[in-house]
């Protein structure tokens, strides 16, 4: 760090006004997030409680009706932008240092590009493309440049050469047995994975950080009670807990996300607590306390920011596992039957492995690559954010 001579390093440039501002005035970022959150809650509240009719509320530019899930997703994106992306933009020197470490991991950089594509397609695709529909006349169409016997495909959308049905660009990745376009299903599946991965992780991070810091800071009976509860939560093997809860209460993607989020924050809480216990003893916290800062202020301004790297690293590894869980339960038929998710398409093609290989394999490739990319990125993030963990 000694070689750095950036402007913001100099003592004179410390923003005293920002440091002296009291907790009474809201920071601009917090204000933006609050206003945005209120807006989202208002729209979703209106749609679910007051709006009449089953049709879309907005007809233009695209027919649209906000659901609670959309609201949660918008909230998540808002929080990620405000507390994940904005600080990076705000603090270019730190960003450059993180990026320099991150970039050393070439697989992670490629993964980041791949994830950016998945993210963009998952966000924009479902707005532009119609939901894949049943079309019995176009079942079992092979992907483009491949061919299957017409005995498999039945009626063939593309040209038939020597009794072989050839794939067309109308269905670049083929169709399922009931004529759903695999490419469109995969793009819709991207959004499902995005929603599950991001929203659930946000719920887990919020609950885990709150419980962890409160436990570390309160100590005594509160700490004991909270951590005992975490012990109980972690006693259940995650998979079988999800299985039981989804069997009893599941059925929609919204509920799946809520179930995942409310039952999986134990590990994060434990991690944050042990980190916060260490931070509590640091000099800057004692200095803040001796100059009269209250507990809430110390937790918010000194403890949470200083455990945030641990939390981000932890969260980046939660995302792939949650996406994998969602795919698994969709595959087992415990997901949302109305949402085309990757696991569901894989399950749909399972009976046709001998004749229509593409239905089960193609969504699986996307699932595998996404999880792999997320794991690579998580690994590189840990190296960049947490110098102590670097081996």
């Amino acid at each position: 760090m000694s070689g750095e001579s950036d402007e913001s390093d100099r003592f004179e440039d410390v923003d005293w006004a920002a440091l002296e501002s009291t907790g009474a005035a809201l920071a601009p970022r917090t204000a933006v997030v609050l206003v945005g959150a209120l807006g989202i809650v208002a729209i979703v509240g209106y749609e679910t409680l007051l709006a009449t009719g089953a049709g879309p509320t907005v007809a233009w530019p695209v027919a649209y009706r906000a659901t609670p899930l959309d609201g949660l997703f918008a909230l998540t994106m808002l929080v990620v932008l405000a507390y994940g992306i904005h600080p990076l933009y705000d603090n270019p020197r730190l960003t450059r240092r993180y990026w320099a470490t991150f970039r050393r991991n070439r697989a992670a950089v490629w993964s980041l590009w791949f994830l950016a594509v998945v993210f963009g397609l998952g966000l924009a695709g479902p707005m532009l493309l119609a939901k894949p529909e049943l079309n019995v006349a176009a079942g079992y169409q092979p992907p483009v440049y491949t061919a299957v016997p017409t005995t498999v495909s039945g009626t063939c959308v593309g040209p038939v050469v020597d009794g072989m049905c050839r794939g067309t660009w109308r269905h670049p990745l083929g169709t399922t047995g009931r004529g759903k376009d695999v490419l469109v299903s995969v793009i819709y599946g991207m959004r499902v994975s995005l929603q599950v991965g991001l929203i659930t992780t946000l719920i887990i991070v919020l609950l885990g950080t709150t419980v962890g810091t409160v436990a570390a800071y309160s100590g005594g009976l509160v700490d004991e009670a909270l951590m005992r509860y975490v012990d109980v939560q972690l006693t259940f093997p995650t998979f079988f807990l999800y299985l039981l809860l989804l069997y009893l209460f599941g059925g929609t993607l919204f509920l799946l996300i809520v179930i995942f989020g409310l039952t999986s924050w134990g590990g994060t809480a434990r991690l944050v607590r042990s980190e916060a216990l260490q931070r509590r003893e640091e000099g800057y916290v004692r200095a803040a306390r001796s100059s009269g800062a209250g507990t809430a202020w110390i937790v918010r301004r000194h403890v949470v920011p200083n455990v945030s790297n641990t939390v981000v690293t932890n969260a980046s590894l939660l995302v792939p596992s949650l996406i994998l869980f969602e795919a698994t339960f969709s595959f087992l038929g415990l997901g949302d039957p109305t949402v085309p998710s990757w696991g569901q398409v894989i399950a749909a093609g399972r009976g046709d492995l001998a004749t229509a290989w593409w239905i089960s394999t193609i969504p699986g490739v996307f699932l595998f690559l996404t999880v792999l990319a997320l794991n690579f990125v998580g690994d590189a993030l840990r190296d960049a954010l947490d110098p102590r963990a670097a081996s």
């Binding site: 792939p320 696991g343 699986g364 699932l367």
Partner: protein
């Protein structure tokens, strides 16, 4: 130490009770999927809705007060009377007893292979850090933790079953257990379970061994002329085994339980996983409960074994609060 083990034992019992109580509470609080199916069936056959509901509740004792149901449920659980499976027309315990050998048949070898191989490869990676082999092993581990079990199983069936014809597409339970044909059809499921569990094992043992590879006592051993094999087995593996043994018991077991569930569904092996899957599909609540509770109990026992193993293996362990964890 005895006091610590006793306390862990007591906690396991409390946790078991909590798991059972919570499960009872969850089932009591949720609409019974079996009831609606039964009512729909009765209504179609000409009965009325309320009569069908009442007769369903009477048949299962659901019209009694909640605490009486709870008492009977707990007594039933403790005495291994786990209820009646509607879809299989046999006691749940019998269905489970018939299923579990199939799960163990390929799960146990997979567990063994992934443990031994995983630790060996992890140690090799740690002692040959940043070599080509190390990178290859790390990439393989990434591959292993990222690939969805159920999809990998499907791909294996597609490539080796459908295209090459080396393995059967569906499991056949009519071949004798100790036969070549059975071994052949269990090879692919065992491979999937091994792959998913070996990856975590490799990464963890590599990270653990790395802590010791450059420690003073290993350097001393090298200085006095100990061979590389002796250094690895005597000086690195032994201290590394302590943290490793804990992940071996609890976490690995968990991975194997989950991946065997999925593997059984894909390959059609009539073990506990497939039993549970069919019970879910056919709304057989008693059987669903049993097949979810059994892995939970196995995991609880694994946790207990992990803690006890720790006290035996590591003299430094702190028996006090959980500050150190």
């Amino acid at each position: 130490m005895k006091w610590y083990v006793l306390r862990r034992l007591a906690w396991t019992l409390v946790a078991t009770w909590l798991v059972l109580t919570l499960t009872f509470g969850l089932v009591a609080a949720s609409p019974d999927p079996g009831a609606s199916a039964y009512v729909a069936q009765q209504v179609q056959a000409g009965g009325d809705v309320e009569g069908a509901q009442a007769s369903y509740e009477r048949a299962r004792g659901l019209d009694r007060p909640l605490w009486a149901q709870y008492r009977d449920y707990m007594i039933g659980m403790a005495t291994l009377d786990w209820g009646w499976s509607e879809t299989r027309s046999q006691p749940v315990v019998e269905a489970v007893a018939a299923a579990w050998p199939y799960s163990v048949m390929y799960g146990a070898p997979a567990l063994l292979v992934s443990t031994v191989l995983g630790v060996a490869v992890g140690l090799y990676s740690a002692t040959h850090r940043n070599t080509l082999e190390d990178y290859a092993a790390s990439s393989f581990a990434f591959f292993g933790i990222s690939i969805p079990d159920f999809w990998f199983a499907i791909v294996l069936i597609l490539v080796f079953g459908v295209t090459l014809g080396w393995i059967p597409i569906y499991y056949r339970s009519d071949v004798p257990w100790l036969s070549l044909a059975n071994a052949r059809q269990l090879l692919a499921p065992a491979l999937v379970v091994t792959l998913s569990s070996i990856a975590g094992e490799m990464r963890y043992s590599r990270a653990t061994a790395l802590e010791y590879v450059n420690s003073a006592f290993v350097k001393t051993a090298k200085a006095k002329g100990a061979s590389s094999w002796r250094r690895v087995t005597r000086h690195v593996l032994r201290p590394a085994l302590v943290p490793l043994s804990t992940i071996l018991v609890a976490d690995l077991l968990n991975v194997v339980l989950v991946s065997s569930y999925l593997v059984e569904v894909v390959f059609g092996i009539p073990g506990l996983g497939l039993l549970s899957y069919k019970a879910i599909r056919q709304q057989d609540v008693a059987l669903v409960l049993a097949t979810v509770l059994i892995p939970t109990f196995v995991a609880l026992l694994g946790n207990l074994a992990q803690d006890v193993a720790y006290t035996v293996l590591d003299p430094r362990i702190d028996y006090g609060g959980r500050e150190g964890r």
